[in-house]
């Protein structure tokens, strides 16, 4: 589904990704772990098309399309969902309006009919229920006044409503307590665990991987993937630390 080849990228003239290659097949949940400053968030930002990042080499194929050739909103319409490490507050715009505009913009690109207000609310209610989120929260302004945990939970509700083909989740587990972690993890499973979907799960810690069992685990260090293995690799990283595991590689 997602094929990254020899990707190099920089921000403010500083090279962060240095020839990163990675492939995620349909039906696969692929965890990316790595020390601070390795380039995990940069990878997520480059895949999303965040302004300020410059791709200096390599390619990214997403379901047969050149992902880097698409504008950020076109990437979303193509089925890519980006879970933000720090979800952005948008004062004055309600979650309901925001998500309805987003969903209908995506549907338009795909040649599907727009959902009516009633149809949308029904869908939103279902998805919010799945993540144990009150509909009242969805009527509030996007992320304004939400706690760290609520923001992450709202991200998953957004993912449920937009129903993407592929999700890049950047430290979705940060700022979550144990209960919220479980709810979010189960949300990822129920929304994205499917033979025709894929997930790139960027995380620091093993604990999310106890709930969302990855098929593959890769270690990102100094701008490239240095090791790929099965779920047992995440356990080793947790127990032995990055330095030891990477020294072995």
């Amino acid at each position: 589904m997602l094929k990254i080849e020899n990707l190099s990228a920089e921000i403010d003239g500083k090279q962060i990704l240095k020839g990163l290659s990675l492939e995620v097949a349909a039906g696969e949940i692929h965890a990316i772990m790595g020390p601070n400053g390795a380039g995990k968030s940069t990878l997520s930002n480059v895949l999303g098309g965040k302004p300020g990042y410059e791709v200096t080499g390599g390619s990214v194929q997403f379901m047969g399309q050149d992902l880097l050739d698409l504008e950020p909103h076109e990437r979303a319409a193509a089925g890519l969902f980006l879970g933000f490490q720090y979800p952005v507050e948008i004062p004055g715009v309600s979650n309901v309006q925001f998500l309805r505009e987003a969903l209908n913009a995506q549907r338009k690109v795909r040649g599907e009919e727009a959902l009516s207000g009633g149809e949308f609310l029904k869908l939103a209610k279902e998805q919010a229920g799945l993540l144990k989120m009150d509909m009242e929260m969805l009527k509030r302004q996007v992320n304004v006044g939400f706690s760290g945990g609520e923001k992450k939970r709202a991200e998953m509700v957004q993912m449920g409503i937009l129903d993407p083909k592929f999700a890049v989740l950047d430290e979705t587990d940060s700022g979550l307590d144990i209960d919220a972690l479980r709810i979010v993890g189960e949300g990822i499973n129920s929304i994205m665990r499917s033979a025709d979907k894929g997930v790139l799960l960027i995380t620091h810690y093993q604990r999310l991987l106890d709930v969302v069992k990855p098929d593959k685990v890769s270690v990102l260090a100094d701008g490239r993937i240095v090791q790929t293995g099965g779920p047992e690799l995440a356990m080793r990283l947790e127990n032995e630390g990055y330095d030891l595991v990477m020294a072995d590689a």
């Binding site: 999303g48 302004p51 952005v88 715009v93 925001f98 505009e101 690109v109």
Partner: protein, 249 residues
């Protein structure tokens, strides 16, 4: 004939003033609000691109415990000015909401003079400017609190968003206070649209044009919060946002 050397005309369009008709310029509409009653005014000012300019000046006297509320959109051409002078008796209230929105080389301005002539009167003014091209949005708000007008509570807030380099906004609050037990709050800020919010919306599939509209809608909404009738509020919002369609950014 006023010139830009006059304080209340300092940001006005000099060419317009030089060629204006003095009678038209000196004309004031007048309104008296009886004690305990409310008068409201909702106006959409669009003099058209061809027009050299237009001014609308209104002088209001609010009797004891009365309320005057005025909500205005300036979308007009070359030079458009809405000026409101309000005198408040004991316990009266003045509510003002204004939006300037436009591009090209339009000069759009609100000028208010609020006279708290007796104790316990309150006033609240919210002005939002959205400018692009080489246009200018201005707010000159003068508040006078006479001697003995104790317990006056006057608030004024101006914010501008400049969608393009070359657009500008000016504000100049003037407070003249001769009573000592008075609350006068003033705030002003000039900025650009929030890029982080724009990227967040794009990441959910919202194209830049709709993202901008949502952000502007949230921004100008502040000026119309005090409109009680929802249908009227929606109509004002729509009229203002229509102007954005003209903006090719």
């Amino acid at each position: 004939m006023p010139t830009t050397k006059d304080e209340a005309w300092r940001y006005a369009d000099a060419d317009f003033l030089a060629n204006a008709n003095l009678d038209a310029l000196s004309h004031w509409r007048t309104l008296e609000v009886p004690a305990g009653e409310t008068r409201s005014e909702f106006m959409y000012k669009d003099s058209g691109l061809e027009s050299a300019g237009a001014t609308d000046r209104l002088r209001v006297h609010v009797r004891k415990g009365g309320r005057f509320e005025g909500f205005y959109i300036i979308a007009g051409g070359r030079y458009q000015r809405v000026e409101v002078e309000v005198t408040l008796e004991e316990g009266a209230h003045f509510e003002f909401g204004g939006v300037t929105i436009g591009g090209g080389d339009k000069v759009q301005e609100f000028v208010t003079r609020t006279i708290h002539a007796e104790p316990n009167a309150t006033s609240n003014q919210v002005v939002r400017a959205v400018q692009w091209g080489r246009s200018t949005g201005n707010f000159l708000g003068r508040i006078e609190v006479v001697k003995d007008a104790q317990k006056t509570d006057a608030g004024q807030n101006f914010r501008a968003i400049l969608l393009e380099k070359g657009a500008s906004a000016n504000t100049k609050p003037e407070l003249e206070i001769f009573a000592d037990d008075v609350l006068c709050a003033h705030g002003a800020a000039i900025g650009q649209l929030d890029e982080a919010a724009a990227y967040y919306m794009a990441a959910r599939g919202i194209p830049p044009q709709i993202a901008r509209k949502l952000q502007v809608q949230a921004f100008i909404g502040d000026a119309f919060v005090a409109i009680e009738d929802e249908a009227t509020r929606d109509r004002m919002m729509e009229q203002a946002l229509e102007q954005l369609n003209e903006a090719v950014l």
